[in-house]
Amino acid sequence: MACDTHRPFKDGETLMSVRNLSFYYGGRRSGGRGGKADAKPDAKPDAELGAKHDVGPDAVHSGKHDGRSGVLHNAGHHSRPALHGINLEFKAGRLCGLLGPNGSGKTTLFKCCLGFNKPDQGSVELGGRPLREFSQRHLASHLAYVPQEHQATFPFLVREMVEMGRTPHRSGFSGLTEKDRHVVAHALELVGLSELAEENYSRLSGGQRQLVLVARALAQEAFMLFLDEPTSSLDFSNQLVVWETVRDIARQGMGAVICCHDPNHILWFCDEVAVLKHGRLLASGPVKSTITSALLEELYERPVTIADAWGKTFICP
């Protein structure tokens, strides 16, 4: 298709754009149209992006965020948008960090970008075409999702886990081709796990499991990676290994979006950042110029200092 033709991409070329995206709770997920009907009356897209919005008592208790489903379990707030007028661009060769407190809509934005959620307003475009024009299978050869490190139900081997990434490229009855095997081996090599290929995935350490999932995404031969809090359950050194691997992969001309809770990691590893609060885009742009103590204080509603030491920038509470 259109976006396949000119790989590799030029550095900084826009791969995916989110245009005026709004998504409402209860619109699609509940199945019924009731929630959506409630949402419609105040569904006017807000022109002033990045504006401070409803920081009242209502907004502060923004509901319990269920990390898995990305839904606020807050019955009284069905009409509140999960995402409101988001405009973003993801570029080739850039690692984009997605920062925001729990319940800010990061996961919902991810799901909209991956085509799991259909936006109620606006669109997500891939190479200039809205996502809904792609089939699930076609989308999977362009976009890859790296979930949080998990235990597989069945004890698959590392190689088998990575081979699953070839699903969108397989056809019908045929088994894995020579090319598939080559791509899988190469993906494992890129994340540095070649010698663990025949190990049991469930017996690896958390960091290694996360890298296997990154390798699977690479085996998909997608050009956009979406990583959902990849380091949240890892120890200090494993966090750095995963971040470095992802950054190196992104530098080779892919786009990568990474959802993260530690602003320090975003400062150290990401090229760009998008900051979400209450479903609105607070700020976006290059990391160095965007992340300021004023922004972080607004985001977390507590004093934050940014300090330079040993040639690195640190964010301290």
Partner: protein, 277 residues
């Protein structure tokens, strides 16, 4: 000699009993759902009892069993489906509820039945190969073989479904439609088998896990593997059933007596490795 040949032949019918039962397992990862749990056997029993008691309304016993088994499984799925999702634990519960409903109907019919009919129902429910005829075997092969090949072809998709819906979608597979197809195929297959041989429990629950231990978790191996193991196990149990005492012991009893302790042992010793519990 003739009897021995018969056993071999009928065991082929059962080769497939196990495949159908276990394909549902990974689609609802971590829960051991087979059509037995989803009420297929109670449904089939109800259909068979209907045919035994009201032969003039339901002249075809197997057809009635088949339809009722299919209805029971679809009902368990239908009851539990909410917001386009099927929560696995709720599925087990709804299977129990539907099973209880059909069992109650069987109970009513047993109460109403004459002595010979009661005896017939009881034997049918214990399960066995002695009812099956050559025509049944042909029917089972004809229906089950294509479905088996279809499910085998879906082995890769089953692997991916076991990772969970979201990952399946991100890998380009539509989990809802793949699951629906697999469930319908598996239910169809098991309903045919149950309608021919009655309720033979535990084969479908045991053999997939035994196959997993032998061949690893890849469903492209587990599917043919458990079919083969299921046939071997049934042959083994049928031999015991025919030779242990003078008269034939119903096969369903033998498979349960051997199968239940096996599953208990499996859960205690290798629960984590096999089920990911």
């Amino acid at each position: 000699m003739f009897q021995h040949g018969l056993v071999l032949r009928y065991s082929r019918v059962f080769l497939f009993w196990c495949i159908c039962t276990f394909t549902v397992v990974p689609t609802h990862s971590q829960h051991k759902c087979d059509p037995y749990i989803l009420g297929a056997s109670s449904g089939a029993a109800c259909g068979a009892a209907l045919a035994i008691i009201f032969p003039y309304i339901f002249p075809q016993g197997q057809l009635a069993a088949f339809i009722c088994a299919l209805a029971a499984v679809l009902l368990s799925y239908g009851l539990v489906r909410s917001r386009g999702q099927i929560p696995p634990m709720a599925l087990v519960l709804s299977g129990i509820i539907v099973g209880a409903l059909f069992s109650a109907m069987v109970g009513i019919m047993k109460y109403l039945a004459a002595d010979t009919q009661l005896r017939e129902i009881t034997f049918w429910m214990m399960g066995g190969l002695h009812y099956a005829t050559w025509a049944d075997a042909a029917l089972a092969m004809g229906a089950v073989l294509p479905i088996f090949l279809l499910l085998w072809r879906f082995g890769w998709q089953l692997n991916i479904l076991s990772l969970g819906d979201e990952e399946a979608r991100s890998l380009g597979l539509n989990p809802a439609s793949a699951r629906l197809l697999i469930i319908i195929a598996a239910t169809f297959m098991s309903a045919i088998c149950v309608s021919i041989c009655g309720i033979i429990a535990w084969v479908g629950l045991m053999m997939p896990h035994a196959a997993r231990m032998l061949f690893g978790p890849d469903h492209r191996w587990v599917i043919p593997g458990s079919a083969l193991l299921g046939a071997i196990y049934l042959l083994f149990c049928d031999t015991i059933a025919r030779t242990l005492i003078d008269s034939e012991i119903p096969l369903g009893i033998v498979t349960s007596v051997i199968g239940a302790p096996y599953l208990l042992w499996l859960l205690r010793s290798r629960g984590r490795a096999v089920y990911g519990l």
